[in-house]
């Protein structure tokens, strides 16, 4: 026993050691060593974020260098404080305060001493900086906006949060990412790819050279510049027109689906969300819960489309062969459904399709709507056909445009009504409001614009989009370059367009004609309600207008939705016509109209429900 004891001990020690070593080196080992290794520091080289230009090559978003004076408190050597403060342009007290703050944060890590120097200060300081140990200047890049407009399309960038970090391993704490709009949608293209250098460090955190002679290092990949489809001038002009009004304006080039302008009122200057004031400004915008400037009405606000929707019902009826353009309906200043009279403002009399459209006769379209359903044996069948046709215009579902937010709107189907009223407890008469774009149908301004573009194209549309070129090359994504056909035969569009053209010539919008431009359009006046002290209260009608021009070769299709703007041509029609003139002619001849639109605001309308007093709606005041 005495003889083998030592041998046993030797073997047991050996086994213990190998066991422990296999635990350390095999079971505890993780291959992500480089990421955890305190001996390897990664230095990132951030590429410049890509510039954003408008469709004509005008700069929208660029980058501005910003210079921060940084300090590493531990490395600060005694210095001529007074001279240094003069150089930085701050007083001695502030300097001491900031230095103390930095030291409390960390004596070893850099802190910002003076943020965002001007370029001139930077140039002056740069040479003298070497004399002050522990201080250095760090260059950063901030987004620079060459326009006060388009905030909601362009979006903004902000620091990545926990969710971003978890979703994409590319990012590390403190990096920036596109948060909304184009910045978010095309983050990968605009951002580029950061370069990384691996540096070997010793235990005092000093650099002692590149890790593995730099074979793992990568160079940064520049962010790509993009052209978006916006027309900078039109966008800026539209935002001026929307001053003091709530609503959305969307203009699309029918031949390509390119979004020419996408305006939400009220909006804000994108420069507000850059730099030091960012979070203060953001909170201000965020907390404005009445006007909701951060809410992009042009793509998020779902509301009744109103009379423009009549054109679609007419198209469906023509396609299904239940009416012809010459079919007439008599309007008794209204029409009767289920023993109840619904009003009409067209003036009454006999209407055919043409006058039905340009006079926006409710009776005509109620009748047309019922005819569609009456063609089929059951309401369900009629509903399916109607729903299919309407949805082929891009309504009642996400359009698929390249912005990160959106709403589907609503085109109710039989399921919806079965749930709403119960099986077989509804008929075309029950849902007759849909015939005139009230009722249960809902659409966003961009859907209305797309619908108008589809009519302008006589039966097809291109999915609206904002990206035009990447690095000067046109996009080729078939999602945006191939037309989507509607289910309506092309031949039925002409009579409708004729009616829409007559809206300008002799109809509801005859006072907003533009000389030399033939426009087709349709007004809409949408009743709407709110709840004040638990009482359903009607508010001033929404003013809606859709139009495209020129009629024969459409260059622009536009929808304008002005909340509480009263009848269709009052605000929406005027704004639409100004936008069209601006885009097609580059300038405005009707200065009076322009002046009125720029100056008038609807703030008094928006204040009414909150006044706490009785108020009148649909007032005729200019």
């Amino acid at each position: 026993m005495r003889k083998i004891l030592l041998s046993s001990i030797i073997v047991i020690i050996g086994i213990t050691f190998i066991g422990r070593l296999s635990y350390l080196q095999i079971f505890s080992f993780s291959p992500d060593q480089v990421l955890e290794d305190p001996a390897i520091k990664r230095i990132y080289d951030y590429p410049e974020r890509g510039y954003i230009y408008d469709r004509n090559g005008k700069l929208l978003v660029g980058n501005d260098p910003a210079y921060d004076v940084m300090v590493i408190p531990r490395e600060v050597k005694p210095l001529d404080t007074l001279e240094f403060c003069n150089l930085l342009g701050i007083d001695k007290e502030k300097f001491k305060k900031e230095l103390r703050k930095a030291r409390i944060y960390s004596p070893r890590l850099p802190s910002v001493l003076v943020p965002q120097l001007s370029k001139e200060d930077y140039a002056r300081l740069q040479e003298k900086m070497r004399r002050y140990q522990g201080f250095y200047i760090q260059k950063r890049s901030l987004r620079y906006y060459d326009t006060p407009s388009a905030a909601s399309i362009l979006g903004y960038i902000s620091e990545v949060n926990e969710r971003d970090l978890a979703a994409n391993p590319y990012y590390i704490q403190g990096e920036l990412t596109g948060r909304t709009g184009v910045e978010k949608q095309y983050e990968d293209i605009l951002r580029g790819r950061k370069g990384v250098q691996y540096i070997q460090k010793d235990r005092f955190n000093r650099d002692i050279g590149p890790y593995k002679d730099g074979i793992l290092d990568t160079l940064p990949e520049q962010g790509k510049e993009i052209h978006i489809t916006l027309d900078k001038e039109l966008q800026e002009y539209g935002e001026l027109l929307m001053h003091g009004k709530r609503g959305g304006v969307v203009a699309i080039e029918p031949a390509s689906g390119e979004i020419l302008s996408l305006i939400s009122g009220p909006t804000y200057n994108p420069a507000l969300l850059v730099g030091r004031e960012r979070s203060k400004n953001y909170n201000k915008l965020y907390n404005d819960s009445l006007a909701k400037p951060l809410f992009n009405r042009s793509i998020l606000a779902e509301s009744s489309p109103g009379s423009p929707f009549k054109t679609l019902n007419a198209l469906v009826a023509l396609h299904e062969g239940v009416i012809s353009p010459s079919t007439t309906v008599t309007c008794y200043n209204g029409f009767f459904v289920g023993g109840r009279k619904r009003g009409c403002h067209c003036g009454g009399g006999t209407r055919n399709m043409n006058s039905g459209i340009y006079k926006s006769c409710n009776a005509y379209f109620a009748s047309t709507f019922r005819k569609i359903y009456d063609k089929f044996n059951t309401t369900d069948e009629g509903m399916d056909v109607w729903e299919k046709h309407i949805k082929s215009f891009g309504l009642g579902g996400y359009l698929g445009y390249d912005l990160p937010t959106g709403r589907p709107g609503r085109i109710p189907g039989k399921k919806f009504y079965d749930k709403w009223y119960g099986d077989n407890r509804w008929a075309s008469s029950t849902i007759i409001s849909n015939s005139i774009g009230q009722g249960e149908v809902a659409a966003t301004p961009i859907q209305l614009a797309n619908m108008t573009a589809t009519i302008a194209n006589r039966g097809h549309y291109y999915t609206p989009h904002v990206l035009k070129k990447i690095e000067g090359k046109d996009i080729t994504d078939p999602k945006y370059t191939e037309p989507k056909l509607t289910t309506i035969d092309r031949k039925h569009f002409e009579p409708i367009i004729q009616g829409m053209a007559d809206v300008y010539k002799k109809g509801t919008a005859r006072w907003v004609q533009i000389p030399d431009i033939e426009i087709a359009g349709k007004t809409g006046t949408v009743e709407n309600f709110t709840v004040i002290d638990s009482v359903k209260t009607q508010l001033t009608d929404h003013s809606v207008f859709v139009a495209f021009a020129p009629v024969d070769n459409p260059k622009i299709a536009i929808s304008v939705y002005i909340e509480n703007g009263y009848y269709g041509s009052r605000y929406a029609g005027h704004i639409a016509s100004l936008m069209i003139e601006k885009y097609l002619k580059g300038g405005i001849t009707r200065k009076d109209l322009e002046k009125r639109m720029l100056e008038k605001t609807l703030e008094h309308e928006y204040a009414k429900p909150f006044s706490g007093e009785e108020f009148k709606i649909n007032e005729y005041v200019w």
Binding site: G14, L21, P38, Q200
Partner: protein, 427 residues
């Protein structure tokens, strides 16, 4: 005896393992002291250059050791011992202090560490005393003398202070044990360590309960005519209880904070993550860094000169006491296992050699050699891989250090020389 016959009879397997360990050791010293500015191997201003010089010097000493008469070592062992003890004493007057320990003589070209010499001569002296025909290890008086031979250098080394080196001498108890020291000496030693560690980990209450339960269990399961005496067992149990009670007192009042921290770290006593982090940054910094370095090596290691933590000098004393962490980081599990296997083979081979000696002196000295090398290896590697608390002693043949390498070589080769002579009865 001619030089030729020495070469013929020397145990080449041991020599081969020795050479392999020295070579692997040097390669890792080279890596852990390597700087891009001084890549040359033969630059004696660098640490790895110096180590290369000591390897040469060790080989020269091997030649001298093998050339000496075999009887020289036995005959003069007492003289060596006395001289060595005088040298240890002399440190109190002439010693040179490095890193807080007065353990060296400054000989100009190199620093001599007499405690290293003492390890060799104590092994020799102990073997000499035990192999004496008049010594009977069963006798209490002779046991006392044998222990004295071990204790004198310990007493001289502790005040340097160098508790690590002093600890090493206790390994020589194995030699006495091999020659017939009653079993209960080891039993008591084992119990002391067991009670100490378990008391720290689980507290006196649990240890007491466990002791009482064990005793009760023993009585219940005991055969009626068992010859195991009851009284001594109960007194041992009582002694254990008393010792367990005293452990906390000793730990909290006699130990210094740094000792307490080492034990806390070793036995994972500290559960508060903040305090653990604090210990890792201070007293446990070396252990933590060395464990991390070894872990980061993975199965195949990062490759020669590619150890990032080694390059960054994250592990302090990496070329001396923590050299094994370099092996772990750069050569991975493959490397560390290879080294462990080499050491295991070496020790097993030495046990085999010792057991085949005809001369008692040679066998006992052989055991002394194994004990000393084994405890160095056990404590050093155990500390570096985190299974033992931090005790600063070098890894034989591996760690950087001139006198270390020289005397470990001498320790081993004196035995190999004795082994070449095993068939002759010279006395």
């Amino acid at each position: 005896m001619s030089g030729r016959s020495v070469l013929k009879r020397i145990d080449w397997l041991t020599v081969f393992i020795y050479m392999a360990l020295v070579l692997i050791g040097w390669v890792n010293i080279y890596s852990s002291t390597f700087t891009e500015a001084e890549p040359s191997i033969f630059n004696f201003s660098t640490l790895h250059g110096k180590q290369l010089f000591f390897i040469g010097a060790s080989l020269v000493s091997v030649v001298i050791i093998l050339a000496m008469e075999t009887s020289f070592y036995e005959r003069f062992s007492s003289v060596f011992y006395i001289v060595s003890m005088i040298l240890l004493l002399g440190l109190f007057v002439f010693g040179k202090t490095i890193a807080g320990a007065t353990s060296w003589y400054d000989l100009g070209f190199f620093n001599l560490q007499p405690s290293e010499l003492a390890k060799v001569v104590t092994a020799l002296a102990l073997a000499k005393y035990l192999s004496d025909i008049q010594t009977d290890i069963k006798r209490g008086k002779d046991q006392l003398y044998a222990f004295l031979i071990i204790l004198i250098p310990v007493i001289l080394i502790i005040p340097q202070p160098d508790p690590g080196s002093a600890l090493v001498f206790f390994a020589l108890v194995f030699v006495i044990f091999r020659e017939g020291l009653p079993l209960y000496y080891l039993g008591i030693g084992f119990l002391v360590v067991l009670v100490f560690v378990t008391t720290l980990m689980f507290g006196t209450v649990w240890v007491s309960i466990a002791t009482v339960l064990l005793i009760l269990l023993f009585f219940l399961l005991r055969k009626k005519k068992s010859k195991i005496p009851i009284l001594p067992l109960i007194s041992i149990a009582i002694a254990c209880l008393l010792f367990s009670l005293s452990v906390n007192f000793v730990f909290n009042n006699v130990f210094e904070q740094r000792h307490r921290d080492r034990f806390s770290l070793w036995l994972r006593l500290e559960k508060d993550p903040n305090k653990l982090e604090q210990i890792r940054k201070t007293i446990g910094y070396n252990s933590y860094q060395s464990e991390k370095a070894i872990e980061s090596g993975g199965f195949f290691g990062k490759g020669f000169l590619e150890g990032t933590r080694t390059k960054g000098d994250f592990v302090p004393e990496q070329h001396t006491d923590y050299i094994f962490s370099t092996v772990g980081e750069e050569w991975g599990f493959v490397g560390t296992t290879t080294v462990v296997i080499f050491f295991t083979l070496l020790f097993l081979r030495l046990v085999f050699l010792a057991e085949r000696q005809k001369s008692d002196f040679s066998r006992m000295y052989g055991y002394g050699v194994i004990s000393i090398l084994l405890i160095h290896y056990f404590i050093n590697v155990g500390m570096v891989i985190g299974v033992l608390p931090t005790i600063g002693i070098p890894l034989p043949f591996f760690s950087y250090g001139g006198s270390g390498l020289l005397f470990f070589t001498a320790l081993l080769f004196i035995f190999l020389k004795l082994d070449t002579n095993r068939l002759k009865e010279e006395f």
